[in-house]
């Protein structure tokens, strides 16, 4: 089983992002997804910067994939998408069907991302026929769905599961970070750069509930399937996705790597894993030993 670092969901200053990926080159991770998947207005790193980081990580022995933007609205979004699709070197993760169309037209293998809503074998089979060699289960799905999918997996298809991080729950046209400051998206002043792990949304009783990250809404709790690793292994999952956060990602990767190597591993935090168990996502289900 391989470990993957998912695309960076947040907007960090340029140097912070460059330093982060320089460090990732030395972390125990097999696959790194790169690219801006949330908001096309973010520009600390341009696509060419990501191509450069990709080349450096590949030189360091990492498998690199480029992730497309999840919500594509404008012609300039499509232009960026086409450039990514035509990069000629790295696998592309398609996060909406426009990307799938362009990748299939070029007859190149691709990864079917977590927002494609793949919930059944028929849809996965169609994507395999179009060139998908890897699919990421939608984070809201759990082990019951996975078991069925694994039983009839298209030949050569590798399954990836979102295993650690704040869960991307929703995407909007509206920027909720800008909204907090009474700004419109077009003149947002890039406020999200001040929140390296998103802005906490608490209930009026002070309970952490969600996170605002630009046009994306995430879970406040960190999703963590470390304790469910035996199930994931038994199901034949090929890749576990770890989602970047501003601190501690090396420790998280080390813990998952240790567990995969059969060593004891623990992470401390206010975690959830409900989706995996077919429960509300925010729940934490502790399995009886």
């Amino acid at each position: 089983m391989k470990l993957a670092l998912g695309p960076l969901q947040y907007y960090w200053p340029r140097q912070t992002t460059l330093d982060f990926y320089a460090a990732v080159a030395g972390m125990p991770v097999d696959i790194v997804y790169l690219g801006e998947t949330v908001c096309s207005r973010r520009h600390e790193l341009r696509l060419d910067d990501y191509f450069e980081i990709a080349a450096r990580l590949a030189d360091a022995g990492k498998e690199v994939a480029l992730s497309t933007q999840t919500l594509i609205e404008s012609e300039s979004d499509l232009k960026a998408l086409r450039r990514m699709v035509e990069n000629g070197r790295f696998l592309v993760e398609a996060n909406e069907m426009g990307a799938v169309r362009l990748l299939a037209q070029r007859s190149v293998p691709f990864a079917a991302g977590p927002t494609l809503n793949i919930f059944n074998t028929e849809t996965l089979g169609l994507l395999a026929d179009m060139g998908a060699t890897r699919w990421v289960m939608p984070p809201e799905a759990g082990h019951d769905l996975l078991a069925g999918m694994q039983a009839r997996l298209p030949e050569g298809m590798v399954t990836e599961v979102f295993a650690y991080g704040r869960v991307p729950l929703a995407y909007s046209a509206r920027c909720f970070t800008a909204r907090r400051f009474n700004l419109q998206k077009d003149t947002c002043e890039f406020k999200c750069i001040d929140f390296p792990d998103g802005m906490a949304v608490r209930t009026r009783e002070g309970e952490d509930f969600l996170l605002l990250n630009g046009i994306q809404t995430q879970s406040a709790k960190v999703y963590n399937l470390l304790n469910d690793l035996p199930d994931l292994l038994a199901a034949g999952v090929g890749i576990l996705r770890i989602s970047p956060q501003s601190a501690g990602i090396a420790e998280v990767l080390a813990a998952f790597r240790a567990a995969l190597d059969g060593r004891a591993a623990q992470l401390a935090g206010d975690y959830c894993n409900g989706f995996w168990h077919g429960r509300p996502g925010l729940e934490l289900i502790r399995k009886a030993a």
Binding site: T70, L71, I72, E73, S74, E75, D77, L78, L81, E96, M97, G98, R101, T115, N117, F119, N120, T121, E122, T123, L124, G125, L126, L127, P138, P139, E140, A141, D144, L145, G148, M149, R152, V167, L169, A170, Y171, S172, A173, R174, F176, R179, R180, Q184, D186, A200, R202, T203, R204, E207, F209, L210, L212, T217, S219, G274, F275, P280, G281, L282
Partner: protein, 345 residues
């Protein structure tokens, strides 16, 4: 290739009024008040309005289709949730049922299900549901090439200029939401309800389900909860609202406010001339969960508005009594142009 608008450069193409039918009485109300199409679903999780007491069984659907067809109105069946491995046959059976009952089109989100419908019922017209999250022409053309969809319903996230760009680059008919409840999230890309309650719009066809809702009068005011999570608290005399997560009030960075969206309704009546000029082919009215009286009133106003706009788009303006009628049924709720108007974003 459809060529019926070749000589009509100066007249807008016909625009269909697509109205909600949560049950047979609402269907009849829509038909009687001027809908061109009604849309409906079966009584289970194969559609995105899977609520207790809503939707159609076999008999009521057959009667509804007969009623509509006798009056020249089309019936579209929404099968717009995602079948999951393990319950797939229920969705294909629903496709078969819609076809044999004589539906004029089915509205789908799942590619696998589209492939099935195309294979099993090649004559059946396919519409891409808003739940398919297709927001650009590359995505829409993908569904056309692969599955022969003839119409796409756009998520409520694009501005008018962006919609125009879509229309310029596809031969798929474009349908947009014109009136009613407003999802602020991209449809098909929202798991907020799944996270809080375990009930998912994508897989279960419902958001913020009634079984998870609690209303509680407390000394601090009326509290609404979803699976125990406080969604909002209303002061004495404040207009209360159903605890949909995106319409709740929360604390962010020490401010308490509608962090995601005010509980406003979409109303694009004033944009009608522009929508027609752009070549939008259908306007959808949201509200399968609303009463037959609501459906009747909204349908009647929109029918009048569309007819009036077709007669003379240049001089079109929403009439005061239309707005008054709509305000009456929406119980004082405020209106928004949503994403169609750029500043809203």
């Amino acid at each position: 290739m459809n060529n019926d608008s070749a000589n009509t450069m100066n007249t807008p193409p016909p625009i269909e009024l697509v109205c909600p039918a949560g049950g047979l009485p609402a269907l009849k109300a829509a038909v009687d008040n001027g809908a061109d199409c009604v849309y409906a679903g079966f009584r289970d999780d194969t559609n995105a309005r899977n609520f207790t007491g809503l939707n159609f069984d076999e008999k009521s659907l057959q009667e509804g289709i007969r009623y509509a067809h006798e009056r020249g109105v089309k019936v579209l069946i929404a099968l717009n949730t995602y079948p999951q491995d393990g319950n797939w046959p229920r969705w294909t059976a629903a496709v078969d049922r819609a076809a044999s009952d004589g539906a004029d089109a089915i509205i789908l989100a799942d590619p696998g299900l589209m492939a099935y419908a195309q294979r099993a019922h090649p004559q059946l017209r396919l519409h891409l549901s808003v739940q398919g999250s297709a927001t650009n022409y590359e995505a829409i053309n993908f569904y056309q090439e692969r599955f022969g969809i003839q119409r796409a319903v756009l998520p409520r996230v694009l501005s008018l200029a962006q919609i125009e760009q879509v229309i310029a680059n596809t031969s798929v008919e474009i349908e947009i939401f014109g009136f009613g409840g407003l999802c602020v999230m991209v449809e098909g890309r929202c798991a907020l309800s799944a996270y809080a309650t375990g009930t998912s719009p994508n897989c279960n066809g419902a958001c913020s389900p009634g079984k998870a809702v609690r209303w509680e009068q407390t000394p601090k005011g009326m509290e609404t909860r979803l699976n125990g999570i406080l969604i909002d608290r209303f002061a004495e005399g404040e207009r209360t609202g159903y605890p949909t997560i995106c319409k709740g009030r929360f604390e962010v960075d020490s401010a308490t406010y509608y962090a995601i969206e005010e509980p406003a309704s979409l109303n694009t009546l004033e944009m009608l001339p522009e929508l027609m000029r752009m070549g939008i082919r259908a306007i959808k009215i949201e509200g399968r969960q609303r009463s037959p009286a609501y459906v009747a009133q909204v349908t009647k106003v929109w029918r009048e508005a569309i007819d009036s706009c077709r007669r003379d788009a240049a001089r079109f303006a929403p009439k005061a009594d239309w707005m008054a009628e709509l305000n009456k049924i929406s119980e004082g709720q405020s209106y928004t142009l949503g994403a169609y108007s750029r500043p809203w974003k």
